[in-house]
Symmetry: C2
Subunit: 218 residues, 2 copies
Amino acid sequence: MLEDLEKVKDSILIKGIKTQELSSMLGCLRGVIKKYNKGETVISEGQKLEKFGILIEGNLQIVQYDYIGNKSVISVIQPKQIFGEAFAYVNKVSSFNVEAIENSQVLFLDSNKLSTPCENCCTFHKQLVKNLLFIISNKNVNLTQKIECMSKRTTKEKLLTFLSLESIKNKSKEFYIQYDRQSLADYLGVERSAMSTELSKLRKDGIIEFEKNWFKLL
Amino acid sequence: MLEDLEKVKDSILIKGIKTQELSSMLGCLRGVIKKYNKGETVISEGQKLEKFGILIEGNLQIVQYDYIGNKSVISVIQPKQIFGEAFAYVNKVSSFNVEAIENSQVLFLDSNKLSTPCENCCTFHKQLVKNLLFIISNKNVNLTQKIECMSKRTTKEKLLTFLSLESIKNKSKEFYIQYDRQSLADYLGVERSAMSTELSKLRKDGIIEFEKNWFKLL
DNA sequence: AAAAGTATGTTGGAAATCCAACGAGGTTAT
DNA sequence: ATAACCTCGTTGGATTTCCAACATACTTTT
């Protein structure tokens, strides 16, 4: 398990924690490794979360379904990123699914153990809580930005809001996005075909250029 | 200033912090009190946040505007609640406005001072970070739930998702909501009149009952 | 008490989105 | 190489939402 943790040693979660502390951290936070095949469900809606995950290998998506089956992609999880931490920390039932979109490997840590430092390892506890605060604050910012996109009334405005935020993030008018068309439509909460149509209109009107995942604001 | 802090002494932010520590906390985190009249702007979009606020008295709204002026209400701030903490902690530019909807009084605290405990007051520092983590985790959950509502495709589904989440929160089929019609429409990202029409339909179809802010799921 | 203002519900036509279906181009599997 | 599959863009009709305007009830101001 320690060698798995090695793979994510430059993650934000364990930044500033010494290598020799990692082993006691795994014990103290009840670390468990689980493996998932592509398509498998990692966390189900309604499941009570007590542990949060850090993705060691593979690729995950956080998604929600309505009763008809429409899918909304909340976010994409890359290796070294954590998920489920907010719900786990306040001990709430998950309101989303986490699905493996590639074969994946996840380390779960017990969030209830975070704020109750045992005597022998309180150095990493303090650092871990600080790191977690930073991560959750960032996620908060990202959720707020997703809401900024979704709260626009038309598909065109949603797209332009998303693209301009991406442009700012990448500090460039040109950038690659991490979503394919269907995922982007899910993220923005619109119909894929309608979105494609709007993208074409925006290109025809000379507002953007794009090819596959590459975009340029004009 | 200390007597202002007294008014919010049972807030989640300073829960578990001893009364005699509050004074040193105010000094250490550079506490500042500011007053706002109804309608005034507390935080403007684009403003770099280094302090977060705790509402002492009054009522605030976190809102966003698009370029046409459509308003989206992110959330309502009641006394004892904090705001701007995520953006302040990661030192980002605000992506929202905070507006006073009543005459209000706000205490601002410097979030950069949070993680750098001075020797003489590290007890409350640790507790404060824990409290903040709890608050931000909760907000995270709330943002996720707002996204859950907004990602539904029709106004009817958005309403039903919102109402069923409220019902769960209140652990009852009957409950009062904190939004008036316009604010609710803004929160869900839909047109007020269209929402009114859908509410009437839902009532006619025997799915819900409501009067003003009172709702009942059937 | 009258007037002004606010919140809610209703309406009908304009506009946008959704939905289902299809075609073009590219990739993967056999 | 062929077939099967997937992604993306396009189209047209059905559906939904938006928008502006107005009616009603209730609240606040004068």
